[in-house]
């Protein structure tokens, strides 16, 4: 018989307890009166002699209960049935995960990493399946698990070494947590593909410098699986200290620009004096030195600087140990002015208009200025000169002519948000309408001219002609036929029916597709509660065909609340209820700003290009834009990467619109119309934080961290242990032992009761 947890056998020593209890003379219960205690010594309970143990049967029963309990806790099993393998046949799945983020560029660190990779490959069992992956912001397979598994055992090590030789440190930001998560997923997937009877343990070996800037928070998304260990192998550079800086334009004056520079000296750095020099247009240093500063280790200092008269493209820091992050690039900001055209009636109180709320949404950014233009219906708003970076938001009541213009705008790539913010009313017949016109004595009535083919806008009516809502008393009423015809004009789609909702109190959004880009930012459980957004009324719209439509949100009645459709190169978005308080609580809710901002950014994204990119990421470029890299090195001592249009295509790994910002520097973007602009690409500043990360941070998220590799003996032992566990769980001898313990304990109790009964009888007698 073998034991899974033999240490518990020590508990059998507790048998001494009952023996001692049997040996010790208990304090008698009976009391004898005596004339005087003056000749009596106090004699505490003493051990009796062995021959005086009176209750042998009880002692045996009690001792056996303890011994069997201890035996049960040792988890015994019959080992004869076990067929243990030597362990050589089952290798573990190991992923060597190599950090290729920018911080790995520090001097000596890559050599250390390659030496460590060799050690890791040499340590393992030849039967191990070793895959090689590298990571910065993303995981890059160099030798995938499936490929490694297909390789013969003899070639596995050489294949892994070859895969490692292909890797070189990049400029990207490392995301350790995400990379480990993906590796865990890969191993899990591999496990589920393979028969679980023969699969061994899994191990992820991370070779990295583990700097403080490496994020590991993503590990919280994964529950660490059993039998998977994480080994962290830290590689250190030859020099530890590092200083880095960030620069930001403060304000622009006529001749020079004012900048603010934050210089940070990492903890443990031995140097404290640094110099900052401006970089000229071609990457050359501009004398004299811009700043000479002293920053103690572990501290940051902010300095205001004035740029020289000549054109600058960045700054260089000298005086620290690590040069990989000593250059940062900056280009003069080219601020754009984006426009939001709000087309609606503006009479009545401001709170009843869409624009009133739209103007209060902070749509601008550091690079872009956003201007909200309020255009009354019927006013001329320069449609022909409308630039494509304009977003049109219009109320329900639009004229046919405006609908035509907006349709053309969308055809050319513009985005339009059409808000059906007025209650509908079934239109009367033409004759009836004419009759009404005669009766009320007005010339224009909404809808009548459209129906009769009038060219001018018909919805611009006076207050006297507006049917009033019984609820609000101030809303316009749109005729459903008008809306239907505008709908068809704008969306190039037929409408089956359109009518006003019949809501007793309010309706809510019954469903939201949080995968849709508009709602995606609100997917977190902290933000996805829309139950506070109540709609007092809305329009019930039924499409004749749903092809081409995207409906990311709908009311609890099932009718769409939010519709989108591509029209030409542009996009039409329709809200079937307004956001004014008369219509709903949408504008007053916390969801309004993020949703409108998201709609706006989606509408203008194709043109939004930051002037400051982070190296090692994909940035979306407008179609037709070509990229030209400036002719100077990204970092001192690096190869100059010549840039031309081919560079873009060659580096593109995904869509044609993505640009791989491989290394820091300044690139020139030339759009299809020939206009050029410059963009600075810098390394993520987190990579410069080279203070060491504590391993605890990784293990805190539940990862099973090991610091030393498993030896062959350990692997064999682990396999044996696994087998033993399996055998023990199948045999479950402990359960039978517990049953026996219960039986013996019962017998002991019965015996005790019987003896007590006898004693009582004897006393009575």
């Amino acid at each position: 018989m073998s034991m899974l947890t033999p240490f518990f056998a020590l508990a059998a020593l507790a048998v001494v307890g009952p023996i001692l209890i049997h040996l010790v003379r208990r304090k008698p219960k009976e009391t004898l009166e005596f004339s005087s205690l003056m000749f009596l010594d106090d004699s505490p309970p003493t051990w009796t002699q062995q021959s005086r143990i009176e209750q042998w049967l009880l002692l045996v029963l009690r001792s056996s209960v303890i011994a069997l309990l201890a035996l049960a806790f040792t988890r015994p099993y019959w080992a004869s049935a076990a067929k243990l393998t030597g362990g050589n046949d089952i290798g573990l799945k190991r992923i060597v995960l190599l950090d290729q983020s920018a911080s790995m560029r520090r001097s000596g660190i890559w050599d250390a990493a390659s030496a460590r990779v060799s050690d890791v490959l040499a340590d393992g069992n030849p039967a191990d399946v070793v895959a090689v992956y590298s990571f910065d912001r993303q995981l890059h397979p160099q030798l995938s698990l499936s490929t490694a598994a297909e390789t013969t055992i003899a070639n596995r090590k050489s294949a892994a070494e070859a895969a490692f030789r292909k890797i070189s440190p990049g400029w990207g930001k490392g995301d350790l947590g995400k990379a480990i998560n993906e590796c865990v997923d890969l191993l899990q997937r591999e496990r589920s593909d393979v028969d679980s009877g023969t699969i061994g343990d899994c191990e992820i070996v991370v070779i990295s410098d583990f700097v403080a800037g490496t994020p590991v928070e993503a590990l919280s998304e994964t529950e660490w699986p059993a039998r998977m260990s994480l080994r962290l192998e830290r590689v250190s550079p030859t020099q530890i200290g590092n200083a880095h800086f960030e620069m930001r334009a403060e304000e622009e004056s006529e001749n020079a620009r004012k900048w603010r520079v934050r210089v940070t000296n990492e903890p443990g750095s031995l140097r404290e004096r640094f110099r900052l020099t401006w970089l000229g247009e071609n990457g050359n240093r501009i004398e004299p030195i811009a700043l000479e500063c002293t920053v103690p280790a572990g501290q940051s200092m902010v300095y205001p600087l004035q740029a020289p008269d000549t054109a600058i493209r960045g700054m260089e820091l000298t005086g620290d140990d690590c040069v990989f992050d000593n250059r940062r690039f900056a280009v003069p900001a080219s601020g754009r002015t984006l426009r939001v055209l709000c087309l609606e009636e503006s009479d009545g109180s401001p709170e009843t208009t869409l624009c009133h709320f739209l103007e209060r949404v902070p749509l601008g950014s550091a690079e872009d200025t956003v201007e909200v233009l309020r255009v009354k219906s019927g006013e001329e708003w320069g449609m022909s000169a409308m630039p494509r970076d304009t977003w049109i938001v219009c109320a329900a009541a639009i004229s046919e002519r405006e609908a035509d213009r907006m349709h053309d705008f969308m055809k050319s790539g513009g985005h339009v948000l059409w808000v059906l913010d007025q209650p509908l009313k079934e239109a009367v017949g033409i004759e009836e309408a004419v009759g009404i016109k005669e009766i009320v004595g007005i010339e224009e009535i909404s809808g009548i001219e459209e129906i009769s083919g009038g060219e001018e806008r018909g919805l611009s009516t006076t207050n006297a002609t507006k049917p009033r809502s019984s609820e609000t008393g101030s809303s316009h009423v749109a005729f459903s036929q008008d809306i239907a015809s505008r709908f068809e004009k704008l969306s190039e789609c037929k409408l089956e029916s359109l009518k006003e909702s019949t809501v007793d109190q309010y309706s809510l959004l019954g469903g939201i597709d949080f995968k849709h880009p508009v709602f995606a930012p609100l997917v977190d459980s902290k933000f996805n509660d829309f139950s506070k957004v109540r709609y007092w009324r809305h329009r019930m719209l039924k499409l004749s065909e749903v092809d081409g439509w995207v409906i990311p949100a709908w009311f609890d009645s099932g009718t769409p609340a939010f519709l989108q459709r591509r029209v030409g190169d542009g996009e039409l978005t329709i809200l079937t209820a307004g956001w004014q308080p008369a219509e709903s609580q949408f504008a007053l809710s916390s969801k309004f700003v993020p949703i409108i901002s998201q709609l706006f950014s989606l509408a203008t994204t194709r043109e939004t290009i930051s002037t400051d990119w982070v190296a090692g990421t994909y940035d979306l470029l407008p179609e037709g834009t070509s990229v030209k890299r400036r002719d100077f090195s990204g970092s001192r001592g690096e190869e100059v990467e010549r840039s031309d249009n081919r560079f873009v295509n060659a580096s593109t790994e995904r869509d044609g619109g993505d640009f791989w910002t491989a290394s820091p520097g300044v690139v020139e973007l030339i759009d299809s119309e020939g206009a050029s602009r410059e963009v600075a690409i810098n390394m993520a500043s987190s990579e410069s934080r080279t203070a060491l990360m504590d391993y605890e941070e990784v293990s805190r998220y539940g990862a099973s961290v090991r610091e030393k590799p498993k030896t062959k003996e350990e692997q064999v032992h682990a396999e044996r242990l696994l087998m033993a566990t399996e055998l023990e769980s199948r045999q479950s001898l402990w359960w039978w032992l517990l049953v026996i313990v219960v039986v013996i304990a019962g017998c002991e109790s019965l015996l005790c009761i019987r003896k007590q009964g006898r004693t009582a009888e004897a006393v009575t007698a």
């Binding site: 003379r25 008698p28 009391t31 004898l32 009166e33 003056m38 009596l40 010594d41 004699s43």
Partner: protein, 324 residues
């Protein structure tokens, strides 16, 4: 405690203790003593004429010898030896420790019987007998007198229920020494389970007042031998204190200490000329009495230099010895 000199008992102690009436019990013992001897131990003890003296004011007119008045027309008082000298005080310990028993009757039963027997016997001899009972302090005092009903009074004192949370011999004996100014025979009946040092002073007082003191130590056989079958919690009958006692480990120590105490007690009484005798409750009362009287007689003969005197009249001699 068995001794070949101890006469065989005339009375079964179990039967004797079964007699409820203390006087009857005493009478049984004394009668037994009388029956078993060729000569009564009380015989020859008579009222002997001592002298005449003229009547003076304040004398009891009952003691006037009227016959002599008839003859001489003068008032004379007739004085006898016994009236002037014979006094006996029975000092009986009635503390709770005396209630201990390991046989059918307790030490107190035994002590009562002993005191009653002595009182009966002495009154039969026309001695003035008094009694002092005590526990932690003096409970009752009956002055020594020879008159009708004295025995009943004495016996009634013996019926008292024992009390007191300790035995204090020093206080009561000192008080007795102060109370009894005339020379008397002091028979102290107790278990003397107190520190011997406590006894030294009061016994010294008594001896200094020329009393003849006799200590009769009544002990239960288990108090002497201390036999217990198994470990037991022992509670002091007086103080209520408890001790866990394993007889296997403490019996020897108990006996040693008891013997030391016994020797120490003898060491206290012998220099003072005080008679001391241990009376086991399991030995017959009459036999113990005879043995004690025999010892006393031998001791007195040695003192007086006439050993042959003891063989003539043991008890009488003893009691005479008791007279100063």
């Amino acid at each position: 405690m068995t001794d070949s000199r101890i006469p065989s008992s005339w009375v079964d102690m179990g039967t004797l203790m079964a007699i409820q009436d203390l006087q009857w019990r005493a009478k049984t013992v004394v009668d037994g003593l009388n029956t078993g001897m060729h000569r009564s131990p009380l015989h020859g003890f008579s009222v002997e004429f001592s002298e005449y003296r003229p009547f003076s004011e304040g004398d009891d007119p009952r003691s006037i010898d009227w016959k002599l008045f008839a003859r001489s027309d003068r008032y004379y008082i007739k004085k006898f030896e016994d009236e002037t000298n014979r006094r006996c005080y029975l000092v009986v310990d009635q503390s709770k420790s005396m209630e201990y028993r390991s046989i059918a009757y307790s030490k107190l039963d035994y002590a009562r019987t002993l005191a009653a027997t002595l009182a009966y016997h002495l009154i039969q001899q026309r001695d003035a007998v008094g009694m002092v009972t005590f526990d932690s302090e003096i409970a009752d005092v009956q002055t020594a007198r020879f008159r009708t009903g004295q025995l009943k009074r004495l016996l009634s004192l013996l019926e008292r229920t024992p009390s007191g949370d300790r035995t204090d011999l020093r206080g009561p004996l000192c008080q007795v020494a102060e109370l009894v100014r005339q020379r008397s025979l002091m028979i102290v009946i107790s278990d003397f389970l107190v520190s011997t040092e406590e006894l030294r002073v009061p016994l010294g007082y008594l001896a200094a007042r020329k009393h003849e003191v006799v200590l009769l130590r009544v002990l239960d056989p288990n108090e002497i031998e201390f036999n217990a079958a198994r470990p037991v919690m022992i509670r002091d009958m007086e103080s209520g204190g408890e001790k866990f006692v394993d007889p296997r480990s403490v019996a020897d120590s108990y006996r040693r200490k008891f013997n030391e105490h016994e020797s120490s007690l003898r060491g206290v009484v012998e220099p003072l000329g005080i008679a001391y005798h241990v009376m086991r409750t399991d030995s017959p009362l009459d036999a113990s009495l005879v043995e004690f009287l025999g010892n006393r007689d031998r001791t007195a003969a040695v003192r007086s230099g006439n050993p042959s005197r003891s063989s003539k009249n043991e008890t009488n001699t003893t009691m005479e010895t008791a007279s100063p």
